[in-house]
Amino acid sequence: MKPVDFDYVAPPVLEEAVAVLASAGEDGRVLAGGQSLIPLLNLRLVRPRLLVDLRRLTGLAGVRAAGDGVAIGAMTRQADAETAPLVRERAPLLAAALAHVGHPAIRFRGTVGGSLAHADPLAEVPAAALALDATLTLTGPDGVRRVAAEDFFQGFLATAAAPGEILTEIEIPACAGRGWAFVEFSRRHGDFALAGAAVVLALQDGRLGPASRIVVLGSADRCHRARAAEARLHGEPPTASVLDAAAAVADAGLEPASDVHGSAEYRRHLVRTMTARALGLAAARLAAP
């Protein structure tokens, strides 16, 4: 179970990394922590000619305040982000989601940016980023651009990053005072989820405002905003019946596949169930600031 032969560079500066990656075109892959990529390499499911390792770009690791929100360098190890006081304080939903990523040994190596850029539909970090309305910074041959999480995830393992573009930072806007929760169900602790939900609830004059988001994972080709469910929230008070009504349609528009771990019907049910649990937890946090 060995990878195909490839070459490897670890450029010391971002510009060089971008240049090398751009010149490699489709044959190049970015290597961040490697915890998603290397299993695929070992199984020969991914067959690059060149890996561009970002490990020497120390400027890409770290957490900083960004206004009242928080910005996280793409190369920040998941475990470091999970325990960073700024993240716990300003983006607790992300910290909670990170705690579900694999096991500690995975999170010590895996990076926040790597998980986002890999865009696995079962992954926790993308779902949290989408629920938190994060903005992702991409650096490419043509310069730097910022993309909303909403627009970043494009499909199964597919993102808006163009060839040669490298995800460098994720910025999460201030969300003080909001209710939040991350809930998932997996066969075993540390496994990818069968279904999960990342929820943010925002009150405006006692009613749930447009910043309230429900993101579900595990039943689509990417993390998925449950817009029908969100619509049941907007303008309503956070009562049990409103939350239940939202959860009941959390699977609207989803067409999950059946697989060895469960039928499509079961997955839809789990999406509703996880959403209901997440909404309940988020509403409780809303009530008790």
Partner: protein, 171 residues
């Protein structure tokens, strides 16, 4: 292949890793895992290949002090790093308290998962000197053991935690 990159020569890369406080060098293909590098280049065979896709934890080493899957780390990624493997844990014949705990509590049977388990536990106790049973189980949940049913492993880690606390309480 002739892409740029510090020490790359015809697709091979010179690396230097400090393993168990010993500086070591090798020239490896980019695709060589840290696991294969430790085992094949440096004959440190205490680190085991159990699945090579990051699930079983048999290949766990401490990379710059923190547990990592050696099968999910390329050797080139570890260039310049400090690695601790199971061979580096005991001081001569004196076992590390976690190793001692595994012996005292019969926390191993076939021994194949043991190096990864022990190193994972060592890190746990460095960061959490008094873990609860559930914390121990959570910390070890990324390491599969097919022999013990985990019960004596959990007991071994708890035993080691107590021993380490005793030691640190003794001036």
């Amino acid at each position: 292949m002739s892409v740029t990159g510090g020490a790359a020569v015809a697709g091979r890369h010179a690396i230097a890793i400090t393993v168990n406080d010993v500086p070591r060098r090798a020239t490896v293909a980019a695709r060589t895992s840290l696991l294969d590098c430790l085992r094949e280049e440096w004959a440190l065979t205490g680190t085991h290949a159990g699945c090579e896709h990051g699930v079983c934890g048999a290949c766990t080493v401490l990379l710059d002090g923190r547990p990592a899957r050696a099968c999910l780390t390329l050797a080139v990624q570890a260039d310049g790093a400090r690695v601790t493997t199971i061979e580096g844990l005991a001081e001569g014949d004196r076992l590390h308290p976690v190793q001692e705990g595994f012996w005292e509590c019969h926390g191993l049977q076939c021994g194949f998962c043991t190096p990864g388990m022990v190193l994972t536990a060592v890190h746990l106790l460095e960061t959490n000197p008094a873990p609860t049973e559930i914390e121990i189980r959570e910390a070890l949940a990324g390491n599969l053991c097919m022999c013990t049913g985990y019960q004596n492993i959990v007991a071994a880690v708890a035993w080691a935690a107590a021993r380490l606390r005793e030691r640190s309480a003794t001036p």
